[in-house]
């Protein structure tokens, strides 16, 4: 690789590697909106995995300060895929039957 020979080089290199640790930095931060996708067998069979991936994709695309991760069964198997949105210092909101349109809606409303 080209050597770092100026502040600008350092900045551009930093921007190219920042993504590597982004998931960790977000996990460490307090006060972020957390989106938990239930990923039990019933959830996965109802399409939770593609919803989870779609969340990650959109959060990345819109550069939102949102942490997305998977959790286990939330117990509402009839409404899978279910998604819990945990807002800092507030009660969580749970969404059922989440599809891509709903993901967009959730991120529109709670992502920032």
């Amino acid at each position: 690789m080209a050597q770092i020979k100026s502040l600008k080089d350092l900045e551009s290199f930093k921007n190219s590697v920042k993504e590597q640790i982004d998931t960790r930095v977000k996990g460490n931060q307090d006060g972020l909106v957390q989106i938990k996708v239930a990923m039990a067998t019933c959830g996965i069979s109802a399409g939770a995995k593609s919803i989870y991936n779609y969340f990650l994709e959109k959060v990345d695309e819109k550069k939102l300060d949102v942490v997305v991760y998977q959790t286990d069964c939330m117990g509402r198997c009839n409404e899978e895929p279910t998604v819990e949105v945990a807002l800092p210092n507030q009660e969580s909101i749970i969404f059922g039957n989440v599809d891509k349109a709903k993901v967009d809606e959730i991120l529109e409303k709670y992502g920032k």
Binding site: I4, L7, I21, T23, N28, L56, V67, T71
Partner: protein, 597 residues
């Protein structure tokens, strides 16, 4: 490069490596490969998380799940349950000792709640063998800022304003040290990182080097720029192979990326770092002895002045700082002195890393703001005394420090308060003791260490410490007199006043502080021939309670020296002449008939 959805951080510190963390990481990786998840989930070995008591540690990000005491066999379950199905592996979660509940999120663990990680900011967070991750966490931005936007004087002033003091033990103001070195002119100056960590039980420097080696390289470069030195040397113990390896990898990467070498950041400033290995002599942590050792001479201290800042390595002006001190430098430059000097107490700014050890629930490495109380450290972060026993004392400052007691528990910890209490900060060893520790024996342990490590150059240390050790030995064997205690006090005072270097001058501290705080215990050993902690074997007597003993013969059959006599079904007795006080009889007795007096 694809972005990883999840990161699995496996502790790669020395402690967890010894409990197979490398194998855990390998198995996690192969399991991911098997499931085709290698591009979605990343496994990295980090530096120490600090929670060594429950190692090996595996942390999953971004959900902060903290798994403890993980075994290589658990790798498959972690992947299949947590990574694929989002189901936490409950049996591996940390259990809160008070509430008896599993704590999934590391942020909610008592151990981490009160900590403030500045020097350890990247330990347990980044891959120490990847310069990219360090740079992604603002690495090398501080040195870039210094070289391109600040004059050496401004750098020194910033460090002075921050109030940072040496973390190796002495607590000398770092900015002032740099200023003195910068004002001495010479054709060549040197910057030395003191990584000769030697206090029993202390491992903060090792953990920083293992977990965040680039921060030390960056700080030394800043130091070089500030004082006008182009060469840096790290004096590191050869017993720290992992730290040496990580440092070597980091130096090679730094050179490859051009952040170490010539014309750094397009300026005409050059700086490079070499390693020097120490053989683990305690006295070589003293800066003059360290410099002699680096020059290939015997590791013996010399009288100051001249200070290393005037005439150090190869008689050139040399600035020596400790690893932890350096770890604070880059972040002070980036966040500013006024951010740093708001943390801590009036005269001790910032944080301090402590190695918690001894009879405490959460043994490990912690970083706390100066001014926190011992009570908070021991009971909130440390989780209290093991087995619910009574707190007795805490030893800080290693062999140069002293013991603090119950009455000091609410004293805010900083350099000056610890000295006023008869101990010192030292490099940050903190050994917690409960009622089963004998303070005379503890003083003897530390003195044995200093006697072993004395270089022998000056007589107070070489001969005086030896005499003190003999007196302590006499006392613990039950042969001490009150005159011995007086002699001990006088001798300690003389050694303190007359020894050549820091090692000798501080070696009587463990004795002086235990004499002050635990005088009764010394007198008990001398007059009553009794050790209340039951630690001094010579003073112990095993006795069978004749009214409780049923004559089952279990003790007599298991006694390794046949010291127990008695007929079947009649009470037994112990022949104290033969008894070696091994404790087997107490262990074997089902009727609690045997006790120590």
């Amino acid at each position: 490069m694809a972005k990883f959805k999840m990161h699995i951080l496996v502790c790669g510190g020395t402690g967890c490596t010894a409990s197979k963390s490398q194998e855990i990481a390998d198995r996690l990786k192969s399991n991911l490969l098997e499931k085709g998840l290698e591009n979605e989930v990343q496994v990295i070995l980090t530096g120490c998380f600090g929670f060594c008591e429950k190692g090996p540690i595996v942390k999953i990000m971004p959900d902060n799940t903290f798994y403890t005491e993980v075994k290589p066999e658990d790798a498959q379950e972690i992947i299949e349950e947590h990574i694929i199905k989002g189901r936490k592996v409950t049996r591996l979660l940390y259990t809160d000792p008070d509430k008896k509940e599993h704590v999934a999120d590391a942020k909610h663990m008592g151990f981490y709640k009160k900590q403030l990680r500045i020097a350890l900011r990247n330990c347990g967070f980044i891959d120490p063998e990847n310069i990219g991750e360090y740079i992604a966490c603002d690495g090398y931005a501080a040195v870039a800022k210094c070289l391109t936007e600040m004059t050496p004087e401004q750098v020194i002033n910033e460090i002075k304003l921050s109030g940072l003091r040496g973390r190796g033990g002495g607590g000398f103001p770092t900015g002032m040290k740099w200023e003195i070195a910068s004002k001495n002119h010479a054709d060549q100056k040197y910057v030395v990182c003191n990584a000769d960590e030697g206090d029993p039980g202390a491992f903060m420097d090792r953990s920083i080097l293992e977990g965040d080696p680039h921060s030390i390289i960056e700080a030394m470069t800043i130091n070089g720029y500030a004082i006008g030195a182009t060469k840096g040397l790290v004096y590191i113990r050869a017993e720290y192979p992992l730290a040496i390896h990580r440092l070597q990898v980091a130096i090679a990467q730094a050179r490859e990326y051009g952040v170490l070498g010539n014309n750094l950041f397009g300026t005409d400033f050059n700086f490079d770092i070499e390693l020097r290995y120490g053989a683990g002599a305690f006295v070589c942590g003293e800066e003059t002895a360290l410099i002699h050792s680096m020059e290939g001479k015997r590791g013996e201290p010399t009288f100051k002045p001249p200070f290393p800042a005037q005439s150090g390595y190869l008689q050139k002006p040399t600035n020596v700082n400790n690893v932890e001190t350096y770890a604070n430098i880059p972040i002070i430059i980036l966040k500013g002195a006024n951010w740093f000097n708001k943390i801590g107490t009036e005269k001790s700014k910032g944080t301090k890393v402590f190695a918690l050890a001894g009879q405490i629930n959460n043994v490990g490495l912690i970083e706390v703001p100066m001014g926190i109380t011992l009570r908070e450290v021991i009971y909130e972060i440390g989780g209290g005394i093991k087995g619910g026993r009574q707190f007795k004392a805490v030893q800080t400052g290693g062999p140069s420090g002293g013991c603090l007691t119950e009455k000091h528990l609410d004293t805010p910890i900083d350099y000056d308060n610890l000295i006023a209490a008869g101990s010192m900060m030292g490099s940050g060893g903190m050994v917690v003791m409960d009622e089963t520790s004998c303070m005379v024996a503890i003083a003897k342990f530390y003195l044995e260490f200093t006697c072993e490590e004395s270089c022998g150059k000056c007589s107070p240390c070489r001969i005086g410490n030896k005499r003190m050790l003999e007196i302590l030995d006499k006392i613990t064997k039950g042969n001490g007199t009150m005159e011995d205690l007086e002699n001990l006090k006088n001798l300690a005072g003389v050694i303190k006043d007359t020894a050549l270097c820091g090692l000798g001058q501080t070696s009587p501290n463990p004795i002086l502080s235990t004499l002050t705080n635990f005088w009764d215990e010394y007198v008990e050993h001398v007059q009553d021939k009794k050790c209340r902690a039951g630690a001094c074997k010579s003073l112990m007597r095993y006795v069978i309670d004749q009214s409780v003993c049923v004559g089952c013969t279990a003790c007599a059959r298991n006694c390794p020296v046949n010291a127990i006599q008695g007929e079947k079904k009649t009470p037994h007795t112990i022949n104290l002449e033969l008894c070696i006080k091994c404790g087997t009889c107490i262990e074997k007795c089902k009727f609690n008939a045997i006790s120590i007096q």
